[in-house]
Symmetry: C2
Subunit: 352 residues, 2 copies
DNA sequence: ATAGTTAACGGAATCGATTGCATAAATTTA
DNA sequence: TAAATTTATGCAATCGATTCCGTTAACTAT
């Protein structure tokens, strides 16, 4: 197999009798090169099959036109959509996207962080691992002036760009929705409380209860480790066996919410009339499960796009150094069957 | 904000009174450097916070220890798991992963392909876009000796590594399963026939019918464009309204299969007794929908891991140049409620 | 017409790691 | 002990693009 040699700006220079400097400038539309020369050079470059060597340029400029992404897991609907949004935006601007997953392990987050750092990424987009508390591994980026955008799972003790949703309001609204549907004993499937998103969702839940004159019962707040299907199943079983079981559940994610629905059905508990359920994320499963799951929809892809744009803006020319800019996006309560008690009441009235 | 300067091998050389060559060799465990010197240099490197500059090394070696991934869409369960497998394997070997999605557009595939090429990736992992027919854009990789691994959606006219599942057998088995459950008029939701996976699944379907003495009716084979939920809903409606409707459906993906189940329920057709359904991919929704969807499970993450390993092996030293190595993985029929007629028959017999 | 500008381009250093070749020292062999 | 190896290290070119600093020529202003 013959290996073709790559065309460089030196080859172009020789061919066209220009210096490499001129070639380089022409290819970058430098103002001090005449339009005519630029045209000639670009055409020759095209014809000779010239392709820029990003590594060489990166070495010289000490950056690689690459955005690094550091997340917990790729194969979660939210994360996949997030990446999708990042990739789309980045690529349109001619940037590459490097991904790495921590699998929610602090150690992996550190080593991936270092690997991305070594790759001279232009900026870093992070959704923290479940375990992460100390933020030391991100300091080197700050020291080097490399922008970091935290998405969704963000730290509260680190000054940087942040792109989040209003978890508090979402939690409040979801809970309020259940209250409006007539629930009076609402349980909450809470995530790890050192992660902002879960803490805020819980706060919204608590405040909604209190502001509507309902008591907050610790028994009804289940603290999950991973909000998995299994955990949800177990928690639901326990709740429904209580002497005074809840009539509603606000789950901090959809996986656990779906497990609650399925567990309730298995136990002969009617959803939504005996137990109304609302989840979080609006995963694809939410509209498939029966009764379909009400949920809070998350603009995942948009969050990715915005995060990428933050980095592009930061490395652009007209960049206004305001490192702690926080973007808060709205959410939407998607009401489906799992929480719709009122309508049904209405219907049964009509059918009498 | 103060920007810290990076430590290079020259800094180490000056500090330790060695030449940069020695530093470089020591850091790479070159045999011609004494273990003592290596130890001294590595410790100093650690202490001074040295981090290798991948761009410089990449420029010199004309490769970047990076695996490029070119897929249609990230936010599909199968693809997300595939990437997850690639990333995990690559990172363990110290490789980075660059991702790009074509959104199933031929044009995007070409431009992403070029972008990855320009990034001097060590190898490329591809799952073809729905539109791709011509393979010209991959030739430059071959010319440069850069390995390409096609995964899942592979070409049949291009000599390269391939990692696939046995789609024919899977299609055959899925159809056979329906036949064994007593179905006699089995419809097929077929994908774009120029993509190997869909063509082979259909072939398996056709052969299974014929070998079991069932006729192949063109009316029962619906050719989809994207196998979306909407398409599936429409197709199911049409099928069930036929004078002689099918009693089984083998769908080439789960999305369309789920839509069939939901459509049938809406139309009052009992699944599985009046209509048995089996899908493909074993997406998370398969176990959530009711009745739960039988499906063919795809070892997505494993396929990703194997693909990555192919590239690592290729660029390793003891590489045996056998460019057309094809890996075929097995699949598993996951039987759930949507296709289980026999058991039910048994149960109803017992209950008499 | 002469000084002052501007436009268009070239020279050469630079980014940081790698490596073929050369050399010096240490060790073994004859 | 001289010669032949082996071991450990240094020199300097190289990868390809970028950019600071000139330099020349053409052009403008006074």
């Amino acid at each position: 197999m013959k290996i073709k040699k790559e065309v460089t700006i030196y080859d172009l220079a020789k061919e066209l009798n220009y210096s490499p400097s001129t070639i380089s400038r022409a290819l970058n539309d430098h103002k001090s090169i005449s339009k005519k020369t630029i045209k000639v050079i670009k055409e020759a470059a095209m014809e000779m099959g010239y392709r820029p060597n990003n590594l060489a340029a990166g070495l010289r400029n000490n950056k690689s036109n690459t955005i690094g992404v550091l997340i917990s897991r790729i194969n979660r609907p939210f994360m996949a959509s997030l990446i999708s949004g990042i990739e789309e935006t980045a690529r349109k601007a001619g940037y590459n996207v490097l991904i790495s997953q921590s699998n929610d392990k602090y150690e992996n987050e550190i080593s991936n962080c270092n690997a991305l750092y070594d790759s001279r990424i232009t900026g870093l987009i992070v959704s923290l691992s479940m375990e992460t508390v100390d933020m030391g591994h991100f300091q080197k980026f700050v020291d080097k002036g490399i922008p970091i955008v935290f998405v969704d799972r963000v730290p509260d003790n680190f000054n940087s760009y942040k792109v989040v949703i209003d978890n508090y309001t979402a939690g409040y609204s979801a809970t309020k929705h259940l209250i409006e549907q007539g629930c009076t004993r609402i349980a909450h499937f809470a995530g790890a409380q050192h992660r902002n998103i879960y803490e805020e969702r819980k706060k919204g839940y608590v405040d909604a209860l209190q502001e509507h004159g309902l008591s907050v019962e610790e028994d009804l707040i289940i603290h999950f480790k991973t909000l998995s299907f299994e955990e949800g199943d177990k928690a639901t079983k326990k709740l429904l066996k209580m002497a005074n079981p809840p009539d509603g559940i606000f789950s901090a994610n959809d996986t656990a919410a779906v497990s609650a629905i399925m567990c309730a059905k298995k136990m002969g508990v009617d959803v939504p009339h005996e137990l109304a359920v609302i989840g979080f994320n609006d995963d694809p499963i939410a509209s498939i499960v029966q009764p379909s799951l009400s949920s809070v929809s998350h603009p995942a892809s948009k969050m990715g796009a915005i995060s990428a744009r933050r980095i592009l803006e930061h490395s652009g020319q007209n960049y206004d150094s305001n490192l702690s800019e926080i973007t808060v996006l709205g959410t939407e309560i998607i009401i489906r069957d799992s929480s719709l008690k009122n309508l049904h009441v209405l219907e049964s009235k009509q059918s009498r």
